[in-house]
């Protein structure tokens, strides 16, 4: 045994590059890895994401490799969405539930080949996946530290990747994945992301990580490509309307107090639940909920004023608390004050008059405003370039 105590936090394969670029030295712990919350300036990082290109180190995301003759059937039983049409070379977004139909996590499934998949998500739950494998011929491996991953997001990303030599990348459709030779190894590229914009996620052997970073920065230099930290991403994902496990819902397997977890219907993810497919985890509970009604409704709110309504109470017009804000931000591109909230039924129907109670601290003095808010349908930011193939920008 070595006498050396291992570091409390691991470093990602990009750490040497990130440490150099992280001028603010603002670090945080993301699932056991040292990751930056900001490099130089959160706004500049955010605007790089929206106007040119940004690089975000995705390595700490949970990545499970699921292989074997039953891998497809196994995943179809695990998740709420029908995976019948998920072909090799495609990615899908889905949620998965426990027996009570409560969301354990949401994430993406990459079908690499007929019998090989990667499940990518925020939370770790190998234990759940292993138990779910009873009766299936599959093997499940945690590849989180065996794959270095970058999220490359923004309108210029396609052009930059083309310049880097990824020929034909412009033909990659949203939720497609493909492979390119890279140095002595292979680079997997998927047209996916967490910003609601044109963007790609790049998956590579950890040995090649630094080279990938350098080549992206070189190819993207003239486009003002910037590395981004978690704070910039937080604004972008709220603008795009994306949920985050642990922030917008309590992952069911981590719930301590009864009733704090949520079903997909209660998170606005009902579109991911395919009750007509064959048996899947939580199906019966979700069928029952569909019949009897949900306890909560998840809504996106447009809040008056410019103060982010983080964790605010929400009142109905009778001044009764009907819910809580889970995430909130002033989103600069859409120029809106957006909040996500979990409301008790039946509140939160479009047109309901609701009020948020925002507390804010200015020079050691707490103040409070009661702001009106309205339920938004659809995303406040959803550019055409996100969907077009080839992307309509450069």
């Amino acid at each position: 045994m070595s006498d050396q105590i291992p570091p409390r936090l691991m470093q990602t394969p990009f750490h040497s590059r990130i440490a150099t670029a992280c001028e603010l030295n603002q670090w945080e712990d993301w699932k056991g890895y040292t990751t930056p919350s900001a490099f130089t300036n959160v706004e500049l990082e955010y605007f790089a994401m929206r106007n040119s290109a940004s690089i975000f180190d995705l390595t700490p995301m949970t990545k499970y490799r699921i292989t074997g003759p039953d891998a497809h059937a196994y995943l179809d039983r695990l998740v709420t969405r029908n995976l019948g049409k998920l072909k090799p070379g495609r990615v899908t977004y889905t949620a998965w539930c426990n027996d009570a139909g409560q969301v354990i996590d949401d994430g993406t499934i990459f079908r690499i080949s007929r019998d090989s998949f990667i499940l990518c998500s925020q939370e770790r739950h190998l234990d759940w996946l292993e138990w779910s494998a009873l009766g299936f011929n599959v093997s499940i491996e945690d590849e989180t530290d065996r794959i270095a991953a970058l999220s490359f997001q923004g309108p210029s990303t396609c052009t930059i990747l083309k310049n880097m030599g990824l020929y034909g990348i412009e033909n990659l459709k949203p939720f497609d994945l493909t492979h390119y030779p890279f140095e002595q190894s292979e680079l997997m590229v998927s047209r996916t992301g967490f910003t609601g914009d044109l963007g790609y996620e790049l998956w590579v052997d950890p040995d090649q990580a630094e080279k990938l970073w350098d080549r992206l920065m070189d190819a993207g230099e003239q486009f003002d490509t910037k590395p981004a930290g978690s704070e910039a991403l937080q604004i972008a994902r709220i603008e795009a309307g994306f949920l985050q496990a642990g922030a917008d819902f309590v992952p069911a397997e981590q719930e301590v107090r009864a009733g704090r977890s949520r079903s997909p219907y209660e998170l606005g993810l009902g579109w991911l639940v395919h009750l007509k497919k064959s048996h899947f985890n939580g199906k019966q509970a979700l069928q029952l909920e569909k019949r009897k009604g949900s306890r909560y409704r998840f809504v996106k709110l447009d809040v008056a004023g410019n103060k982010p309504a983080e964790h605010s109470f929400i009142y109905n017009r009778h001044h009764k608390v009907v819910g809580t804000v889970t995430s909130a931000a002033w989103v600069p591109t859409a120029k809106r004050n957006v909040a996500f909230a979990s409301l008790e039924m039946p509140w939160g129907k479009p047109g309901d008059e609701l009020t948020v109670e925002i507390y804010y601290l200015r020079e050691l003095k707490w103040s409070r405003v009661m702001e009106k808010c309205t339920v938004i349908e659809g995303a406040v930011f959803d550019p055409e370039r996100r969907h077009a193939t080839p992307p309509t920008c450069q």
Partner: protein
């Protein structure tokens, strides 16, 4: 599938609980089909001819607690249920010819007056505690979470049964209910033979030793029959098989159909609902209600299949504690065996080799490490003494339940079976010198044999340990205790559900009542 094959209910397995269920269901007017995989009905409660002219109860060999409700409702006496002997005593054998005879509330033989007196008090207290459990036998256990009013009432009733004992006894039940039999016996008795025999009662059929937690509960469970008319074990005339034959006859007369050599391979479902069963032959039988008499693990992992169930549910099925530890020895003897110090008139009792409580605990030690005991504990019955139909005139059969013989034996049973059998015969010979020369034929059923013959996972006699964590509303596991399952139309009626093992029959009855009450065919 053909509509001509349609039944209201298909019962999988013609064990005693399956047949009891079928009888109640048929009696209520439903069209019932019972499918049994082997060539004979009865499951672990049948009589087999293991050598020409010698017949013996193949697995369970004594009736401790066949519930009078079932005997009455199914008119089993009219259908041929007879006992060759009832209310047998238990003789705890000592190697030097010393022994004690436990019969009812008295102990005689080589025992002090003080211990005999203590036993009287001990037994009367235990019977009082058994009453508490006896009241739960006839009902489905209450749900703890999201229970209905009925659930809350039956929970209150259980609480009231405990409270009704009075303050002192209630405290005593709560004190000893979850602890081990070894300590409780140490508090009361000096006599080793007595303590050994009582320890055996508390561990038979389980993966526990006398020092394992909640073995007092298991002891109470074994004696629950003494609250409704049994005053010791009984031997059915013609072996255990006649009990199930009587149940089967009752079921048939109510209109149930029985098919043997019909192994069900799969319970067919559509959208979490039962639509039928498929036999090994490929034949499919249409039904909307299936009652499974297979153990809970086999029911859910093989017959339904984990992929048709949710993860947490599957995990609970997978984690049911059910390590089979019990073997069965059959000896065909050319004459009546003689046990040292035991009078001829007494040999017909239940004879146990468990000479002291440490002996029993030591026997268990081996099982923890996947080895069989070098000094096992044995429960012997020589039914031919009471029932001349079992062996040719003047000859006898000896039936012995033996522990510990772990299912997951390190070296594997195919290697060890003969050695273990010889070890057992040597052991019995210590108490019955010369018995080896009397043997005409012999047969050992290891847990592996019991698993393959009766289809019980790990060869576990009770389809799951009978312990607090798998008792009442926790049997077979939390979240599934009222016979219905997450698969709509599938019910479970084996000993793995409440109230559990031994030839009691109440699981079958309670399950049938649950099916009839739901009425959702």
């Amino acid at each position: 599938m053909t509509d001509t094959n349609q039944f209201d209910v298909v019962v999988i397995g013609a064990g005693h609980n399956g047949l009891v269920s079928a009888a109640y269901l048929a009696e209520s007017g439903l069209k019932v089909l019972v499918l049994e995989s082997s060539g004979t009905i009865g499951g672990a409660a049948r009589t087999c001819e293991f050598s020409e002219g010698y017949r013996v109860s193949e697995c369970a060999h004594l009736v401790y607690a066949l519930h009078p409700t079932i005997v009455r409702d199914l008119k089993l006496t009219n259908y041929g249920l007879r006992y060759a002997a009832t209310d047998l005593g238990t003789i705890s054998l000592g190697s030097d010819g010393l022994h004690v005879l436990i019969k009812g509330d008295s102990v005689s033989g080589d025992i002090s007056y003080e211990d005999a007196d203590s036993y009287r008090k001990f037994r009367s207290k235990m019977i009082k505690f058994c009453q508490v459990f006896a009241t739960t036998l006839e009902h489905q256990p209450p749900r703890l979470m999201n229970g209905s009013l009925g659930d809350k009432l039956s929970l209150l009733k259980l609480g009231w049964q405990v409270r009704k004992l009075g303050k002192t006894d209630m405290q005593e039940l709560l004190r000893i209910g979850s602890i081990n039999i070894y300590d409780v016996l140490e508090e009361r008795f000096d006599n080793q033979l007595l303590k050994g025999a009582l320890c055996l009662d508390a561990v038979l059929g389980s993966h526990t030793g006398p020092r394992s937690p909640n073995t007092v509960l298991a002891y109470l469970y074994r004696h629950v029959g003494e609250t409704f008319g049994f005053n010791g074990p009984s031997i059915p005339l013609g072996g255990m098989g006649t009990v199930v034959e009587a149940i089967a006859a009752s079921a048939k007369s109510s209109g149930a159909e029985l098919r043997t050599s019909s192994k069900v391979e799969k319970i067919l479902t559509e959208g979490s609902k039962v639509v039928g069963v498929r036999l090994e032959t490929g034949e499919e039988i249409k039904t909307h209600t299936v009652v499974s008499n297979a153990d809970p693990r086999a029911t859910f992992s093989s017959l339904v299949g984990y992929p048709q169930l949710d993860t947490e549910f599957s995990r609970r099925v997978h984690n049911i504690r059910m390590k089979g530890n019990t073997a069965k020895l059959h000896l065909a003897l050319d004459s009546r065996p003689r046990f040292t110090g035991v009078g001829e008139s007494e040999t017909g009792n239940r004879l146990v080799i468990a000479p002291d409580s440490d002996y029993v605990e030591r026997a268990f030690n081996h099982a923890k490490y996947k080895e069989y005991s070098d000094k096992p504990i044995v429960e012997i019955s020589i039914p031919s003494i009471h029932d001349s139909t079992l062996a040719p005139a003047g000859k006898h059969v000896l039936s012995a339940v033996v522990q510990y013989a772990p299912h997951n034996l390190q070296q594997g049973w195919s290697q060890a079976s003969d050695t273990f059998k010889n070890l057992l015969i040597d052991l019995i010979e210590d108490y019955a010198p010369g018995i080896r020369q009397q043997i005409v034929a012999s047969e050992l059923l290891t847990p592996a044999d019991i698993e393959s013959r009766f289809g019980t996972t790990n060869g576990h006699w009770h389809h799951g340990e009978l312990a607090l964590d798998q008792f009442l509303m926790l049997r077979p596991f939390p979240g599934m205790s009222q016979y219905a399952t997450p698969v709509h139309g599938l019910y479970h009626c084996s000993a793995g559900s409440h109230p559990g093992g031994n030839v009691l029959g109440m699981v079958g009855r309670n399950c049938a009542r649950a099916v009839i009450k739901r009425g959702d065919r």
